[in-house]
């Protein structure tokens, strides 16, 4: 099954210096790649650079910032392919941010109509 591991943390709360944190993510990504489970991974620009878009009554409305103001920001994600939730939770628990932030694990739906249409 495919899982999205959504990486959250409050900015500036890592106990590690930036360089070490970067190394920790490299090591994590490398181990995921070596395990053959890595489908993709991205790091997002800061939440303060986000623009939220709504269309209401045909009019485009823009908001400067994320649509949810939370203490912990979505920083990026990994997309992995593993047999089951237990395995996905293990990979989530190994992410460096889980020591001070949180990772949300969401299964990815497959076999939907829109996917079939795009195939």
């Amino acid at each position: 099954m495919k899982y999205a591991l959504l990486i959250y943390a409050a900015p500036g709360t890592s106990p590690l210096p930036d360089a070490e944190l970067g190394e920790a993510w490299v090591a994590y990504g490398r181990s995921a790649k070596q395990a053959g489970i890595l489908l993709g991974a991205e790091q997002l620009a800061g939440a303060d650079t986000a623009t939220s878009v709504r269309v209401r009554g045909g009019e485009r409305l823009l908001t400067d910032g994320p649509f949810l103001e939370t203490k912990e920001h979505l920083l990026g994600f990994f997309l992995i392919d593993v047999p089951d939730l237990d395995t996905a939770l293990e990979w989530a628990a190994r992410m460096p941010n889980t020591a001070y932030g949180v990772t949300e694990v969401r299964a990815v739906r497959t076999g939907t109509r829109w996917q079939a249409a795009l195939a």
């Binding site: 899982y3 047999p83 089951d84 939730l85 237990d86 939770l89 694990v105 969401r106 299964a107 739906r109």
Partner: protein, 414 residues
């Protein structure tokens, strides 16, 4: 085939109790979807109600139900491929269409238990799923036991089933590295069900007391499936030994404390069974929290009176429990036992750190234990003040309920 007639209804009822959760478990494992499994099982039982009344009860009701339910599940898959079933399951279903499982696998219920008690589910959801699908209680019965609207509970189950199938929780026994902690989770759910029943509050007493029986039933099942697991044996023994006092724990006025119980009303058969299961487990020399608590309960059960109780041994066991599963409540119980074994001053010495920590300020048994030890130490004024604190703590009915629950959870004398 047995003769056609009224016994078809009885056979169906027995089959429901004996086979329903096995059928659901096997289908759930094969389909990866609890809802689809439940639907197919329901159809199979409906078919049985018609066929058995007409043709008589089949020689192997469980096998009949399993085969029929599997056929219904495949029909369901063929007719509705959009259901939330893993495509792989569909392939497996097609492959297995000719070879429906003839026997009902007890092992599948173990996998079902692990899925229902998965740590990714909220605790109350684990309890509801386990009672519904492993113990086979109805949604209405579970809702009544937990004083919830039936619709709320039904909704909770629907959401849980969706999460299990869509998030990839497997109906399987976890691998060796995760087994110990996942098994802890399963036992915790069973013990929680037991304590919910043990702490039965006045209004819903009868319904909730039934939860003790259900928890023991679940404990027996887990013990039968994992006979070598000593902590599972310990949990079953603990529940049997506690439950042996059920008749003596209540009188017209409410709960009766251990010291005041009429011990002739303790259930000797349950005590004998619990003690035998515990002895066999302890002989394997893999100690644990449940075995230790059961050993304490067994010592109480073996004593004819409070005075005849082996308090030094109980105090030592609470010492072991404090190392295995440290908690302030365990320390209070240890203080009581030490106070009985070595005198009030020794008991007070154990209690002092708990009192100083302030962790259990509103916990009546703490103040009651303190008061009793002070009294026996000849400090009457301080004892009176402690009794007053105990009574203040008991003033609130809701709190009182919570206290009993914790008392039940602590496994020892109040």
């Amino acid at each position: 085939m047995r003769p056609v007639g009224t016994d078809a209804a009885g056979a169906l009822e027995r089959a429901y109790r004996d086979e329903w959760s096995s059928v659901v478990a096997t289908l759930a494992r094969r389909l990866g979807d609890l809802q689809a499994a439940e639907d197919a099982a329901a159809e199979a039982f409906a078919a049985a109600a018609r066929a058995w009344a007409r043709d008589g009860t089949p020689p192997n009701p469980g096998g009949w139900l399993m085969t029929t339910a599997w056929r219904k599940a495949i029909d369901q898959l063929r007719h509705n491929r959009a259901v939330a079933v893993d495509p792989q399951a569909l392939l497996d279903a097609a492959a297995g269409a000719g070879t429906a499982p003839g026997t009902v696998g007890g092992d599948d219920r173990l996998g079902l238990m692990f899925a229902c008690c998965h740590p990714a589910l909220a605790l109350e959801v684990r309890v509801a799923l386990t009672l519904r699908y492993v113990a086979g209680l109805t949604t209405r019965q579970i809702a009544a036991a937990f004083v919830l609207p039936e619709a709320t509970l039904a909704q909770r189950l629907v959401r849980a089933k969706r999460k299990i199938s869509q998030s990839g929780i497997r109906f399987e026994v976890p691998g060796a590295d995760a087994l110990a902690s996942r098994l802890d989770d399963v036992r915790a759910v069973i013990y929680l069900v037991f304590n919910e029943g043990y702490a039965a509050s006045e209004g819903s007493q009868l319904i909730r007391a039934g939860l003790c029986e259900e928890a023991i039933w679940l404990g027996r099942l887990l013990h039968r499936l994992l006979p070598d697991d000593t902590e599972t044996a310990g949990l079953l023994a603990l529940m049997l030994l506690h439950h042996s006092r059920a008749a003596a724990r209540q009188d017209g006025g409410g709960a009766v404390l251990l010291a005041d119980q009429d011990r002739s009303r303790w259930d000797k058969a349950l005590i004998a069974e619990g003690t035998a299961i515990l002895d066999a487990a302890v002989a394997r020399r893999r100690p644990g929290r449940y075995q230790t608590e059961a050993a304490i309960a067994a010592l109480h059960a073996a004593a004819d009176s409070v005075d005849a109780t082996d308090w030094p041994q109980i105090a030592a066991l609470y010492g072991a429990l404090a190392r295995l599963a440290p908690s302030p409540v365990v320390e209070v119980n240890r203080a009581v036992a030490v106070g009985m074994a070595d005198g009030p001053h020794a008991g007070l010495a154990v209690l002092e750190p708990v009192l100083a920590s302030g962790a259990l300020t509103g916990y009546a048994p703490l103040h009651a234990a303190h008061a009793d030890l002070l009294q026996r130490a000849g400090r009457a004024d301080e004892a009176a003040a402690a009794w007053a604190r105990a009574e203040r703590s008991l003033g609130n009915a809701a709190l009182q309920h919570g206290l009993r629950r914790r008392r039940a959870g602590s496994g020892g004398p109040p």
